[in-house]
């Protein structure tokens, strides 16, 4: 697991998701009850951007078809989304937000 610096702590506000890229993967940052969470930005249903969705408590509603995810766990909680989105571990260090992602293995062919 690698970590990428994606934002400053104060940039992530309650109810206002932030889109960033970590390790080539678009991610969405949320602050829920004071804590910062990070999930894949790309909805598992039809690939819309979750950071453009509405947030109520710990639920984010995808703007495209209304599916909902539980932010801390990435789990789908309302149709039409049915598959979880990846949760990225978050570290806050010295006012910076670092987000974990799986790095590619070495992939050379001959």
């Amino acid at each position: 697991m690698e970590f990428a610096l994606v934002a400053k702590d104060e940039e992530v506000q309650e109810g206002r998701p932030l889109r960033r890229v970590a390790g080539g993967v678009p991610v969405a940052l949320f602050r829920v009850d004071g804590q910062v969470y990070c999930i894949d930005d790309t909805c598992s249903h039809a690939y819309a951007s979750l950071s453009e969705g509405k947030v109520h408590g710990r639920i984010v509603t995808c703007p495209l078809h209304g599916g909902q995810f539980d932010i801390p766990t990435g789990r789908p909680v309302h149709l039409p989304v049915v598959e979880a989105v990846t949760v990225h571990p978050v570290r806050v260090e010295a006012g910076n937000i670092l987000v974990g992602y799986e790095a590619d293995e070495d992939e050379d062919y001959d």
Binding site: H65, G66, L79, E83
Partner: protein, 467 residues
């Protein structure tokens, strides 16, 4: 007495807020917040439903029109009346009904009493007695079968538990529209273990309060229960409205079975945009039998979300598009649990310049070991100027499944025609036989009286005399 609320969207308003007996009720054309509030007020709905409608209106306004599917440019949203109380539908006299329509009823063998209703002459079928008897039988079994408006009042908790959970207003623009202005439709609840032996019909397809441009149907089949619901009509449905935007939500619980049969033959000016979705739990079976004939444009993709292990989905659909018509239909099978199976059979006919599009999705999620899907879509393209498209998507996220898909597009086989003609059939008769053979997987699943009408309808269609 409290102040009269401001309901300036209503043409005539004679009585107080809580009195539903209003002599004439029709909202002004076009869709505004006032219109939505008026609808909810007129129906005497609880606050949560009014708020749901208003939220849906916002969603509807924010969502863009779809850029895929059919051509919606002919729809003028400002010209639509979003609510007309069924008994106040402005009818026409029997003399005003076009001869073509009368002839069609004759040829299809539509009962006399139904003809007037279908032609927009009469607002109600005069057979209250029959209706009450059917209802009594169902009540004895514990089955709830009502129009949706009444269900909201009589079964508020059950209703609220399921309503909007299968198709949220955000799902698509037309689901949002329906969610804002819905009226009519059917509500069915089948208790655990109860099997409805006789198909339930939308009051034999002619109950005004169960039919309408924005009907909303909700069916809940409890564990191990079974129901077959039938709606629609092969006769062309005359309507002054050009938009039919319905939502059907179905929940089939463990071991339950539900079959939903529709045949629709909307008049050629109608845009038929429907969201039909079912959730099937463990070992549940959901079947959509869907016949799309008529309308200017139909966009409809019956879906099944198989969320429980061992669930099954079957979709059997036909689409016939003639001159100036576009049937953009299909199915979605979402495999979200292990050992789920789906079959999709789609038969389309494009003729006289019509266009059919099969649009489907088969999705296998990450943990669906042992699941299987089979899709078969075939199109007969009859003649010059007709078009056929097939746009299927298959998403496989778990390799422990089997996915098979086949499709063909072809003209009526000359060999078959030759053979039948050499046996003395006319070209028209031979063509009709081939077409009947082509759609046989569908017609054999229909209740008898529909199958009979279907045969007649195809006969008429082949002659080209049906609207």
């Amino acid at each position: 007495m409290s102040q009269r609320p401001d309901i300036t969207g209503v043409e005539e308003y004679q009585y107080g807020f809580h009195d539903r007996d209003i002599s004439v009720f029709r909202t002004e054309k076009g869709l505004t917040r006032k219109v939505v509030e008026a609808i909810s007020a007129m129906k005497g709905e609880p606050a949560w439903m009014r708020d749901f409608r208003l939220h849906s209106l916002e969603v509807y306004e924010q969502k863009p029109m779809p850029t895929w599917g059919g051509d919606l440019s002919g729809l003028n949203f400002d010209e639509i009346t979003y609510y007309v109380r069924p008994t106040d539908e402005k009818g026409r006299t029997w003399d005003e009904v076009p001869q073509e329509i009368k002839d069609t009823f004759e040829k299809l063998g539509i009962p006399e009493a139904e003809r007037k209703f279908l032609a927009g002459v009469s607002a109600q079928y005069d057979s209250e007695v029959v209706y009450h008897n059917i209802r009594a039988d169902l009540e004895a079994m514990g089955i709830v079968f009502l129009d949706t408006d009444s269900a909201l009042k009589e079964y508020p908790d059950l209703f609220r538990e399921y309503f909007g959970t299968v198709v949220p207003p955000e799902d698509n623009k037309f689901a949002a529209l329906n969610s804002a202005v819905w009226s009519g439709g059917s509500f069915i609840y089948v208790p655990k273990g109860v099997e409805a032996k006789v198909p339930l019909q939308a009051y034999f397809r002619i109950n005004a309060s169960q039919m309408g441009q924005f009907e909303r149907t909700l069916i809940i089949v409890d564990e191990e229960a079974m129901v077959h619901y039938v709606e629609g009509c092969t006769a062309p449905i005359y309507t002054e409205s050009s938009l039919h935007s319905a939502v059907v939500e179905i929940v089939v619980k463990k071991g339950g079975r539900c079959r939903y049969t529709t045949i629709q033959n909307w008049a050629p000016n109608v845009f038929n945009l429907v969201t039909k979705r079912a959730v099937a739990h463990e070992r549940a079976t959901m079947e959509w039998i869907d016949g799309n004939i008529g309308s200017q444009l139909t966009m409809k993709y019956p879906s099944v979300y198989m969320v429980g292990e061992g669930a099954h989905a079957h979709v059997l659909s036909i689409a016939v598009a003639g001159k100036g018509q576009h049937q953009d239909a299909g199915a979605k099978a979402m495999h979200l649990a292990p050992n789920t199976t789906s079959t999709i059979i789609s038969k389309s006919i494009s003729r006289g310049g019509g266009k059919t599009t099969y649009r489907g999705l088969v999705h296998f999620g990450k943990n669906v070991k042992g699941s299987k899907a089979k899709v078969n879509c075939d199109t007969l393209i009859f003649d010059d100027g007709s078009q056929a498209d097939t746009v299927p998507t298959n998403e496989v996220l778990d390799n422990r499944v089997t996915m098979e898909h086949e499709a063909t597009v072809s003209r009526v086989s000359e060999e078959q025609l030759f053979y039948l003609r050499s046996r003395g059939l006319t070209e028209e008769e031979a063509t009709r036989m081939i077409v009947m053979g082509f759609i046989e997987p569908f017609t054999k699943e229909l209740p008898m009286e529909y199958a009979v009408e279907m045969n007649r309808l195809i006969k008429l269609e082949m002659v080209g005399s049906v609207g």
